[in-house]
């Protein structure tokens, strides 16, 4: 496993991975985090954009070092600019008392989930990622005492669910937790920096030569993102794997592409309500033989009369 210890190794880690599937990175667990009870924060980045991955991040440190994230500058991550996030991320990587991890959820796997037969919502995808990160921390030997999770949805049910999965760990799920709990803010920075680098360095499997300047931030309101969705539309396939097709911005833009009719899988089975007199009626088309079920169930039909 490649180690990420600064922005450069983050960049090369992301570049070496297949960006159409989910990728996970988890840092080494510092010995102090195994020996002493720890707090762990979880937050996401890139939920709204129509382009690129959604990233779930986690950061953890010993409970008695709880002021550590604060001292690294992990305040309200939304209030920080890109440069200061990069600086803080490097500090988190270098710190010997803190560990961190990210799950990069590919845009393709987001739309595959949302467009599956049994629609799997973005909230479910998010919860799975959060749960996976907690499991990885436990597996890595982190002495977990309390977990803080940021959420956009209603916190109560989510919190109860996490408590049922991890009965030995304290759980707090809250809205805007990244501005309330510095450890969540640290997680948020890991997620946001990873998301930014993943988008900036996006390599198109389709061989498109578009750079980050062309597709922009991925937010539906970004004029560059809008232009990209206009200019890089294939009339048959729509878009490369960078795009979340399940976003209304993308499906709106695809109205300009060729229309696609999906196969209807429901077969209509006629219910036999034939009245008995039907069988005695004279019919004109006595000659027309209908095909045996063997053929109809196999979608076989006769194209030539013999």
């Amino acid at each position: 496993m490649q180690k990420i210890d600064d922005l450069e190794t983050l960049r090369s880690f992301l570049a070496s991975k297949d960006n159409t599937v989910n990728n996970v990175y988890f840092s080494d667990v510092p010995q102090v985090c195994k020996d002493f009870p720890c707090i762990l924060g979880i937050d996401e980045a890139g939920r709204g954009p129509v382009l690129g991955p959604m990233v779930y991040g986690t950061a953890f440190c010993p409970l008695n070092e709880a002021t550590l994230p604060d001292s690294l500058g992990c305040a309200d991550s939304k209030a920080l600019n890109e440069e200061s996030r990069d600086v803080i991320f490097s500090k988190i990587c270098a710190n010997r008392k803190m560990g961190w991890g990210v799950e990069v959820i590919a845009p393709n796997s987001i739309c595959n989930s949302m467009l599956s037969r049994q629609k799997y919502s973005l909230n479910q995808v998010s919860m799975d990622a959060a749960i996976n990160l907690i499991k990885m921390a436990l597996k890595g030997g982190v002495n977990l005492s309390h977990v803080y999770v940021d959420t956009v949805g209603p916190p109560e049910k989510y919190q109860a669910y996490l408590k049922s999965l991890f009965p030995n760990v304290g759980v707090t799920v809250a809205k805007k937790a990244d501005s309330t709990f510095p450890i969540v803010s640290a997680a948020s920075i890991c997620a946001k920096v990873t998301r930014d680098y993943a988008l900036k360095g996006w390599g198109f499997g389709e061989g498109l030569q578009a750079g980050h300047e062309e597709f922009g931030s991925g937010y539906p309101g970004d004029p560059n993102t809008k232009k990209f969705l206009q200019n890089y539309r294939d009339p048959v396939f729509g878009y490369p794997h960078l795009v979340r097709f399940s976003w209304s911005t993308a499906s709106e833009a695809l109205k300009e592409a060729y229309h696609v009719d999906w196969e209807e899988n429901e077969e209509v089975i006629p219910i036999g309500n034939t009245s008995i007199t039907e069988f005695f009626k004279m019919t004109k088309n006595r000659g027309a033989r209908s095909l045996h079920d063997f053929f109809t169930t196999r979608c076989l039909s006769r194209k030539v009369e013999f």
Binding site: N112, M114, D261, W262, T297, L300, E305
Partner: protein, 136 residues
Amino acid sequence: MAIHIDNIRNYILKQENNSKVQSMPFRILADCDAPVSKYFETGVKVQEDETQKASFRGYPLRGKTVELPEGYIGVVLHESIAPVSDKEERKFHVTNKFKTLTYWNWDKAPSKNDKIIQALDWIDVAEALHSPITEE
């Protein structure tokens, strides 16, 4: 109604390359070339059980490549003039041939209940029904 297929024998003898045929669970309302290798094949992932996964416009697809039975060949036909009524004679010409085809289901693992696999059953039945009876 009769169907004519131009030059089928010559074509098959002459053609060395098999074309790649994929059956999709949807219809695209257009008749044109499409950059299949660029947008679709780059995203195809072969699974451990040799089935395949891919996406089309974000929809998850599960696919399988099947070989046509021994002694059979697949042909792609083109009809230049579409018939106006179903009484008319129809004329096709062969544009490509194939020995394997890949079919795709929308988010459903390939199984022997898939329509294409079932349709191939007919070949065995036809073989039994229509092969010449030899005296033994």
